[in-house]
């Protein structure tokens, strides 16, 4: 479904990603792991078009999308939910969701998708007229996920969905991601906590300093000494 090969991304003269290859199959749920500054977010930004790659190949459903602008990529139902939720603070919950379905591929089905999102997150339906910035972190994360779902994704890129959440809100978000995946949406997500990430994902990729250092099935990675070394420094 998604194929990334030898990806290189630079910020100015500084190369952040140095040859990363990864893939996500239809319906799969995959995590990207790695310490702070490893370049995890940059990989997602390159895929969704926010940060055009310097080199490498990105294909989605057999078509090259590397370097295309975000509005073209979201139309292919490849949807990116950024770190720290990034909801529109001074728009209402409903307006935020409505804009999630702005792209032409999702626009006609907005009413229906909105009902689906409200069914998944009843809390958002209760608060639909509230301004997004006035909600709790957990609710904003629901809104960010709901807004992403409004674009009717086939592949969802989620950057640190559990960041800054209370344990209860994190468990809920975790559960929701699993349910979204069960409806057939493939998910590629970033998570700092190895146990959490590999508990949800089928497979994982480990990045360090812009390079792919490990990949494998979650079970294998959990038991690997290399993972312990990278994350625990021993």
């Amino acid at each position: 479904m998604l194929e990334v090969e030898d990806l290189e991304v630079c910020y100015g003269d500084y190369q952040v990603i140095r040859g990363v290859s990864l893939h996500v199959a239809e319906g799969e749920i995959v995590s990207v792991l790695g310490p702070n500054g490893a370049g995890k977010s940059t990989v997602l930004n390159a895929i969704s078009g926010l940060r055009p790659p310097r080199a490498g190949r990105i294909e989605f459903e057999g078509e090259p999308i590397g370097g295309r602008p975000p509005h073209e990529i979201v139309r292919r139902r490849l949807v990116h939910i950024m770190e720290r939720r990034r909801v529109f603070p001074y728009l209402t919950v409903r307006q935020n969701l409505w804009l999630g379905g702005y792209n032409p591929a999702a626009r006609d089905a907005r009413e229906e998708t909105l009902r689906h999102v409200y069914a998944l997150f009843p809390r958002l339906a209760e608060r639909e007229d509230q301004l997004a910035h006035s909600m709790s972190g957990g609710e904003q994360q629901m809104l960010a996920l709901g807004r992403g779902l409004m674009a009717r994704p086939r592949l969802l890129l989620v950057d640190e969905p559990l960041l800054g959440l209370s344990p209860a809100a994190a468990r809920h978000t975790f559960e929701v991601l699993r349910r979204i995946n069960e409806t057939g949406v493939a998910i590629l997500f970033i998570e700092q906590n190895v146990q959490t990430a590999l508990g949800l994902a089928e497979r994982g990729y480990v990045l360090e300093s812009g390079r792919l250092v490990l990949e494998g099935r979650s079970g294998e990675l959990l038991g690997s000494d290399a993972v312990k070394q990278i994350f625990l420094g021993g």
């Binding site: 969704s48 509005h71 979201v74 990034r86 529109f88 001074y90 728009l91 409505w98 804009l99």
Partner: protein, 294 residues
């Protein structure tokens, strides 16, 4: 109190009415400026010059075809919309990520260019449109209201209403707000943020153009005409809160009233001093302005 005047109820009401009428014009000029700032955090130092260009375009159409401002107004507003869009694509787009000083000098440079161009084309002399259709004055129980002033004010208020509804009730308006609040997130929704910026510049220029074309019915046209309006608009934007359209309306009207009443109670010569004193007082107490989020 101005020397030699007596303060009657009529004079006070007359002054409040004049202040209100002027205030709606200030409000629309400020709304255009605030929209652009709210969208991309760039201050358009050529805002007053956009107004000046709109006034000269009315004047030019009058000279060339004898068109009355009432007739040429829609054309001139559309022309300024196009000029705003062109400013985005020609200049602003290239300096979006440039240091703030570059952004300031770019729009400031545009202002100087437009002003010099107007001097070159029409000389620095004061011009006016002779015998516009909109003229005369109304006598409402001893309160006199100039028809051109009333029409200008009503036109600005109407334009303000249209702008408000567009931003808050239409899909494109919502996309514009989303772009202002988080450009990257908006682009991930499929919003073409570059087009939103261009649209914002078009609308910003069109707002100040509505004020400009309405003013040609009773105001002189000269290359520096936009300066004081833009200056007051900067105050209104800071007072109302950067990026807040509703704030611009309140601040514009407040300035109009303070200017008129201050001129009446002290001396017209001090009216700008009073406005800026009020501005300083409010920003010291409330730096983000009355309705500001920043």
């Amino acid at each position: 109190m101005a020397p030699g005047a007596t303060l009657t109820t009529e004079i006070v009401i007359q002054t409040i009415v004049s202040g209100l009428l002027m205030g709606f014009i200030y409000a629309l000029v400020a709304a255009g400026l605030s929209l652009i700032f709210g969208l991309m955090e760039i201050v358009n130092f050529a805002h007053g010059e956009f107004m000046m260009v709109s006034m000269y375009s009315v004047f030019g159409l009058y000279l060339a075809f004898g068109l009355d401002p009432l007739v040429s107004a829609p054309l001139c507003v559309m022309f300024l919309f196009a000029l705003g869009v062109a400013t985005h694509y020609g200049i602003i787009r290239h300096i979006l990520n440039a240091p703030m000083l570059v952004q300031i000098t770019a729009t400031f440079g545009l202002a100087i260019f437009l002003r010099s161009l107007a001097q070159f084309l029409w000389t620095p002399d004061y011009q006016s449109i002779p015998d516009p259709i909109v003229s005369g004055r109304l006598d409402l129980a001893g309160i006199f209201i100039g028809v051109p002033q009333l029409v200008a004010s009503a036109g600005c208020l109407l334009a303000f209403g249209v702008l408000y509804l567009f931003i808050n009730r239409t899909e494109t308006g919502m996309a514009l707000q989303a772009t202002a609040q988080d450009r990257e997130a908006a682009s991930l929704m499929g919003i073409r943020t570059d087009r939103m910026y261009a649209l914002g510049w078009g609308i910003g220029a069109a707002c100040v153009a509505v004020a400009g074309v309405m003013l040609t019915n009773y105001y002189y046209i000269f290359p520096e005409v936009g300066f004081i309006f833009a200056l007051i608009a900067y105050v209104a934007v800071a007072l109302g809160g950067f990026g807040s359209i509703v704030g611009a309306l309140f601040a514009g009207v407040l300035i109009g009233l303070v200017e008129a009443l201050g001129g009446l109670l002290l001396d017209p010569a001090y009216k700008y001093a009073i406005i800026f004193a009020m501005y300083l007082a409010i920003v010291i107490v409330r730096p983000k302005g009355l309705f500001g989020r920043f």
